[in-house]
Amino acid sequence: MKLGNFFQITEKTAAFLTFGFVLILPVVLSFNPYYLSIFIIALILGAVSLSWNLLAGVCGQVSFGHAAFFGIGAYGSSLLVLKAGWNPFGAMIIAAFFGVMGAIIIGTPAFRLRGPYFALSILGFAEVVKLLTLNLTWLTDGSQGLFNIPALPAIRIGSMTLDFFVSRTTNYYLAAFLMLAIYLVIYFLRHSNTGLAMSAVHGDEETAAGIGVPVFRTKLLTLMVSAFCTALMGAFYAHYVHFLSPDSAFDGSWSVMPIVASLFGGMGTLIGPSIGALLITGLDEFIFKQFFETGHKLFFGILLAVVIVWTPKGLFGKSIRKK
């Protein structure tokens, strides 16, 4: 008796329900700043999970090091603003391209080999990038971190002003908007010819190569898109929290949590990972932390193991149909 036997909805309906829920959530929480701040992080995680799952769920390439792209985006954008005086919005976009460069650097050697090689190479890559951030002190201020990272500048639409410095609500909705934009990119990419190539690579690389799919190029392109989106969210995170250290920007959680969220929400779906991210953030904040204050993440290890052994399609994998 699985959840999937009781109700079945399409991917589109699931996406509408998810974003509808995200839209009204602040009202339900009566704009409580503490809860909003938790769910802003959940939305950032949701967007990163969507990007992670494009690579893993659609193209079949598991990454253990997405924290690398997140951190590159966060530091890239902050440094452009702090040291070069850029506008944060422009810096965010360029920082996302730094993520793409990272993807090319690690993807080119690692994708020549299959399966676990990529997963572990990228884990090593994440360690190295963090190490460089710690040690290139002239650029990054090392372990001391970056302070006073400016918030995104206020946007005026008619008589309305969207302020990102004080208001949690506007930051929440911007995070939601970024997650939606990333979802749409992934959705349309999945339903294009490139998307077909990705799922062919996922299914069987040799057969895919046999029918003329450029396997290496498809994998690299997927990683580049995934890294762009992840770095973009990293940049948003930097301007939202105003402070970065190598430990926070390259925190292993940014690699681990998208995996847990995607598996929990269903790697076979496109929207599932973001649902997973919202759920696990809630679970973590309101349940796990009550049990173990320091080691609460051990529950995520159990969750990961239990899901992959007993319901590899995730909690909603069977409930969300493709079409």
């Binding site: 050697p109 020549r112 173990f292 290890g301 193991a305 992959i308």
Partner: protein, 290 residues
């Protein structure tokens, strides 16, 4: 100016350290070579061994060398349980599933250590380890030599076990051709369980040595797993003796990086070497091509 002696000194410590790297990687390389499973919890099994030796020393004053068998046994037991409870059930599914599963087990263990024993770095310090041994103008600590000998012995005995004993041969045959092994009466499920447990025990053996030479902490595990994987690829998958050579290359390279560049870039050497190997010779130094 860096003197001639300093260079010899760092090459020698690099070689000795490299022998230990071989032991730190042994469990992962063995399990990967035999079962085609990368055990992402490998580093956590190793760290467990380190914690066991640390607590035995702190609570009851047990000599860390006497703690080695206990560490191996308990880490092997943890590995056995992980296999029986989880991994066994998805052994036949996609390779990436076991990767994510063992990763999950690793997250569980490292956070369990964090909860139980805090994030403090635990170093196993014993006096005789610091005793200097002079060779000409070069100085090595007794600890460096003792740990090297232990590591070398572990690699040697594993090699001997695989080549000479009946069980060892059964493990090797299962790795080469599972179906043929099953047909000739080998219980391949038992072999898998045994191999994975041995992998955990070998990791556990490395923990006390790591604790003696530097430290263990909840964060050490993943780092060790990455290093072990780099060495496994460097040596060539399936080559156990190759680990010693690969370990020494890494050890010397790191030591020279510390001497000539800076200690903060020590870890960079291994990863660069790894990327070069991936591009130039993905089958590793001693692996079969193709």
């Amino acid at each position: 100016m860096i003197s001639y002696n300093t260079i010899i000194q760092s090459i020698l410590s690099g070689l000795l350290e490299g022998g230990n790297y071989a032991l730190y990687s042994l469990g992962l390389a063995f399990v990967f070579g035999i079962m085609q499973i990368i055990n992402m919890a490998h580093g956590e099994f190793l760290v467990l061994g380190g914690y066991i030796a640390y607590w035995l020393l702190v609570k009851w004053g047990v000599n860390p060398l006497m703690a080695l068998p206990v560490a191996a046994l308990l880490a092997g037991g943890t590995s056995f349980l992980s296999y029986r409870i989880f991994i066994e059930r998805i052994r036949t599914t996609v390779e990436l599933n076991t990767l994510i599963l063992t990763f999950g087990i690793g997250i569980f263990l490292s956070n369990l250590y964090l909860q139980l024993w805090s994030a403090d770095l635990r170093s196993i310090s014993v006096h005789w380890m610091e005793d200097p041994v002079h060779l000409g103008g070069i100085y090595i600590s007794l600890g460096e030599i003792v740990t090297f000998v232990i590591s070398f012995a572990a690699v040697f005995f594993l090699h001997l076990f695989l080549r000479r004993t009946k069980t060892g041969k059964a493990i090797r045959i299962t790795a080469i051709d599972r179906d043929a092994a099953a047909l000739s009466g080998i219980n391949v499920e038992r072999v898998d369980l045994l191999a994975f447990s041995i992998g955990g025990a070998l990791a556990g053996l490395g923990g006390p040595l790591l604790g003696m030479l530097s430290f263990v902490s909840p964060n050490t595990g993943l780092h060790i797993t990455v290093k072990a994987f780099i060495l496994t690829v460097l040596a060539g998958v399936g080559s156990i003796p190759g680990l010693i050579v690969a370990g020494m290359m890494l050890g010397v390279g790191e030591a020279l990086t510390v001497t000539f560049v800076s200690s903060s870039f020590r870890e960079l050497f291994g990863f660069t070497l790894f990327l070069v190997i991936l591009l130039a010779r993905p089958s590793g130094l001693f692996g079969k091509r193709g």
